[in-house]
Symmetry: C2
Subunit: 210 residues, 2 copies
C-alpha cells in the first residue's frame, strides 16, 4: 500500500484505502478469491474502480495486501525449552494457514482445497514484487524461529554441526506441502510428529533421550 504524500495537488483520500481493504477482506473471507470481484469491492467501499486500481494495480496486489494485514505479528518467545517454543511457533503458522485455507469455502469439511493459500502462492509467482512483499511479511517471524534454533544449538540443546536453515525448512516445509499439495490436515498431532522427527536427528549425540 504505497502511501506517498506529494504535498502538491489534491491529497489522497486516506480513508478510501482503508475502506477498500476492509471490503476486500470481508468479501475474500466470505466468497473466496475467485468469486471476489473488483467491481464489488469498489462498490462496497463506496469508491470508483479507478481509485482502487490507483492503489493496487492488480487483484493479486489487493489480495496480498489484505492477507499481509491479517498477519498480526505475534512474537516468538525463547523460553529455553526448544520443543515447547517450536510448538508455539508451528501452531501460529498452522493456524494462519488453516484459516486462509477455508476462506470462502462452504462448511463441507471434507474437501482438501488449499483455498486462498494457493492463490497467494500463485500471485507471488506471477508478480515478483508480491513475492518479495509476502516474504518480507513473514521474514521477521521466520528469523525469530531460526534464532530459536540457533540459540538452542549455542546452549547445547541441539547439535552444532547442522544447518539451522535446513532444519527450519524441515519444520515448516511439511506444513506447506500438506496445505498446498496433498490437502491433508495440519493439526496439532501432526505438528508434534514433525517436531519429533526434526529434533530426533538434531539432538547432540551425548544427550540423554527424552
Amino acid at each position: 500500500m504505497p502511501e506517498r504524500a506529494p504535498s502538491r495537488g489534491r491529497p489522497r483520500d486516506i480513508d478510501a484505502g482503508r475502506r477498500i481493504l476492509i471490503a476486500a477482506r470481508d468479501l475474500l473471507l466470505v466468497d473466496g478469491y475467485a468469486a471476489l470481484s473488483i467491481d464489488e469491492v469498489a462498490d462496497q467501499a463506496g469508491v470508483a474502480k479507478t481509485t482502487l486500481y490507483r492503489r493496487w494495480p492488480t487483484k493479486d496486489h489487493l489480495i496480498v495486501a489484505v492477507v499481509a494485514l491479517m498477519q498480526d505479528d505475534v512474537p516468538i518467545l525463547d523460553t529455553g525449552d526448544i520443543r515447547a517454543d517450536l510448538t508455539d511457533y508451528l501452531r501460529q503458522v498452522a493456524d494462519g494457514l488453516n484459516t486462509m485455507r477455508r476462506a470462502g469455502l462452504p462448511e463441507s469439511a471434507d474437501d482438501r482445497s488449499a483455498g486462498v493459500v494457493a492463490e497467494i502462492a500463485a500471485a507471488a509467482a506471477r508478480h515478483a514484487d508480491l513475492g518479495t512483499l509476502i516474504r518480507a511479511v513473514f521474514a521477521r517471524r521466520n528469523a525469530m524461529a531460526i534464532g530459536l534454533l540457533a540459540s538452542a544449538a549455542r546452549r547445547g540443546a541441539l547439535r552444532t554441526d547442522l544447518d539451522v536453515a535446513v532444519l527450519f525448512d524441515q519444520l515448516v516445509g511439511p506444513l506447506y506441502y500438506r496445505i498446498l499439495v496433498t490437502g491433508e490436515p495440519v493439526d496439532h498431532p501432526y505438528l508434534d510428529l514433525i517436531i519429533d522427527g526434526a529434533l530426533r536427528g538434531a539432538r547432540p549425540s551425548h544427550a540423554h533421550p527424552a
Copy 2:
C-alpha cells in the same frame, strides 16, 4: 482427458485432443501460464474453441492435463542403499519441479518465481477434481518412495517406531516449500542436506554413525 466412445453419433476426432495438448504444451513452455490463451491454443491446434472446451472444461483442466502428460513415470529402485535410493527419488522430484518452475520465463535466472508449479497448485485448489487428478498422477511414485522407507525400516536400516509417511513429508515438503514459498534454489547439495537431516534422526539407536 475423458475419451468415451458412445458408438452412436459422430465419433470424436481422435487427433484433435492430441493436437490441442501439443499446442498447449508448446505455448505453456514458451509463454507460461498467464500468457497462454485458449484462443491461441485452439488456433494453433487447428480446432474450434468449442471443441477444446468439450474436452477440458476450463483452462486449468487443460494445463493440468498437459503437466500430467509430461510426467513420465520413472520407476524408483530399491537397491538396499536407502540414502542412494532416496537421492535418486528426490532428484527426480526436484528435476520436475525445476523444469516447471521456469516455464515461460525469460533467461533472467535471478528471479524466484514458482512459475507453473504455483499455477498447478492453485488449479488444484480451485477445482477439487483437479486436486485428486494430480495427486493420482504422483501417487504411484510417492507410494514407491514410502515403500522404500518402509522396507528400509523392515531390514533394520531405519527405526521401526517412526511414521514413514511423516518422514516422507519431511523429505519432500522442504522442496515444495522452497519452490512455492521462498523461491530459493532446489539443487543437489540442498537435497543432500535434506536427506542428511531426515535420516540422522531416523537411524536406529544402535546403529554406527555413517
